[in-house]
């Protein structure tokens, strides 16, 4: 993997060309076969428990399904389920917008918070084990009913901080559309913090993988802690940040506290004529699409591959190429001019000491 990364694109292409002429050998074939043998459980599982449900879920979404004593009755309705959800359902769209705003706001908060905690836990401090013990607690405890219980008992917000003052302050600064979700997030501050257990773990393991000598080198060159953070820590953690962001979004979306998920379950088991399995499937598909788009957006935002260093190298290479080009041009022109002078001299138009300016 490591070596492969170092190849440039053109080299890769050349390699591929060469590989085409080579027949894959016996050993390679055998390896591929062994790979498939090891993958058998997953292939079966993916077919039965992933592909089949996905396809039938899509089929369900296009149907109205009623459960009668004789069995399930399918009536094909096309996109009626979807339009009904989008136009008639009173809750779905409202919940969806709520979900989107709160996710977009709280995901960065959770990730940044997890990063800060992980960095503090990675410092040289006394009682590291004890602090880790506390900060990994959420990993164990977070689950639907328990978290719901905690929130219900008023453990979800910081009682010591006067929330009213905070909300008022936010309300006075920001317009109402922005202020409401923001103060909502503040109101559920602790719940938000509780979501960050796994993320802290991931960041911590990432921090421990960073080579210590990099910091030492930076220190020798006179870099401050602040600079080290931006130039060493953050670039090294980039993949972890992406991973954590995706994990957070997925976690929030699949959490059983999520109102949309409750809505889906409700309509799944509701006995009314127009709801039921088909309706719930359509809703799940809509919801999943939104979640996938959200994850994709976050991934696009964070996954820009270009490094600061790479950028500089690229710029330098470009400048060098331009220099070489200029150099060649000048050389060419000199040659041309010299040839012209030679010609004229041969024609006897000019003598040697009047080699003049306008030829140059």
């Amino acid at each position: 993997m490591e070596d492969r990364k170092k190849l440039t694109r053109s080299e890769k292409k050349a390699l591929k060309e060469r590989m085409k002429h080579l027949k894959s050998g016996k050993l390679e074939k055998r390896y591929a076969r062994m790979g498939y043998i090891f993958m058998i459980p997953w292939f079966i599982g993916a077919a039965v428990f992933l592909a089949y449900p996905l396809i039938s879920s899509f089929w369900y979404a296009l149907n109205n399904i009623r459960i009668t004593p004789l069995g399930r009755i399918f009536t094909f309705v096309g996109h009626a389920n979807f339009t009904q959800i989008l136009i008639q359902d009173p809750d779905f769209l409202i919940y969806l917008v709520d979900y989107l705003t709160s996710t977009i706001i709280s995901t960065p908060i959770i990730v940044v918070f997890a990063l800060i905690i992980a960095m503090m836990l990675n410092m040289k401090i006394k009682g590291k084990g004890f602090f880790r013990l506390i900060f990994f607690l959420p990993v164990i405890i977070v689950s639907g009913p328990i978290l719901g219980m905690l929130t219900a008992e008023g453990a979800g917000s910081i009682s010591a901080v006067d929330m009213q003052a905070v909300t008022a302050a936010i309300g006075s600064v920001l317009p109402k559309i922005v202020a409401d979700p923001v103060s909502d997030v503040f109101g559920n501050m602790i719940t938000t913090l509780w979501y960050s257990g796994v993320q802290i773990l991931i960041f911590l393991s990432g921090l421990q993988k960073i080579d210590k000598s990099m910091y030492e080198a930076a220190k020798i060159d006179g870099g401050s802690g602040w600079e080290c953070f931006w130039k060493i820590t953050l670039p090294n953690l980039r993949s972890m940040i992406l991973l954590n962001t995706i994990y957070t979004v997925v976690f929030i979306s699949n959490n059983s506290d999520n109102p949309i998920i409750n809505l889906i379950q409700e309509s799944m088991f509701s006995g009314t004529k127009e709801k039921g399995y088909g309706y719930a499937s359509a809703m799940a598909w809509l919801y999943s699409t939104v979640v996938l788009i959200l994850v994709g957006l976050f991934a696009l935002l964070l996954a820009s591959r270009k490094d600061q260093y790479e950028k500089q190298v690229k710029r330098a290479v470009k400048a060098r190429k331009k220099e070489i080009r200029d150099h060649r041009r000048i050389e060419r022109r000199n040659r041309r001019n010299a040839a012209r002078i030679e010609r004229r001299r041969a024609q006897g138009k000019i003598t040697s000491h009047t080699t003049n300016r306008d030829d140059y």
Binding site: Y31, I37, F38, M120, I125, F131, I261, V291
Partner: protein, 301 residues
Amino acid sequence: MLGTKDREGFLKQFTVYALLICIGFIYTHPILHMISGSLMTLDDLLDSSIKWLPSSFNLENFKQAAQSMDFWKALWQSAVIAGVPTICNLISCSVTGYALARFDFPGKKIVMGVIILSFVLPSQITMIPTYVLYSKLGILNTIWAFVLPALFAQGFKAPIFILIFWQFFRQIPKVLIEASRIDGAGHFRSFFKIALPSAAPAFITVALFSFVWYWNESYLTELYVHGVYGQSDWTTLVVQLDNFAANYSSYQQTAINAATNLNESINMAGTLLSILPLMILYFVLQRYFVESIDRTGITGE
């Protein structure tokens, strides 16, 4: 005061400790609150002068909560429901992760893509057909509804575990396995004798996470194993907690000695009881937990 570049100064250290302690308190606050609340009697609860320390340690709440939750049965069943799929997960995900890390085969990238997609996809999308599928297979409301997918590497959050194993097996030097091949070991033998023993940290991590996640999963357990209307005999502590109010009132009706009405304290006691086993597990195993994460690096690229 602020410290030189080599030594961290007093102010900086003080800030770090202060922040850690404050946030640590926020984390532990609900738990402490629950512990103190669960020990209170009704009078203490209503007395506004009592905030943290109850006037007497009252274990009656725990007794009632435990009885209404059917604690011992639920505890045992929770352990089974979390434990058996975890073992299946370990087997199937390690094999899959090994295949992805060790062998090159056509279509590997597609497989990786599908794994990642199945992680991102909300489980609700496949929930309903899966429900129908299980009922067709006749495994609905039995523990097989969790075990069977786990056996085929499609269990709850299995993609993460596959990625952990994949990441870990990639780090094992290829030379090691090639050497064993030269010495005449087959693929399976080199997997069992070389790869598996060196992947112990990955196994611990996956086992812990899988156990915890299965333990805490209330929604799918209720749907597939417990039954939406409680048709099956299977139940877990978390599910019991979810239906705590209903359970409690039914218990109250059947109990001969008039139990007190459901109050906050009993609620807290119930919550505490359902986390307690995990907390104990965590405190006992926390060393492995932290260490194994340091070593595996739960992440991938």
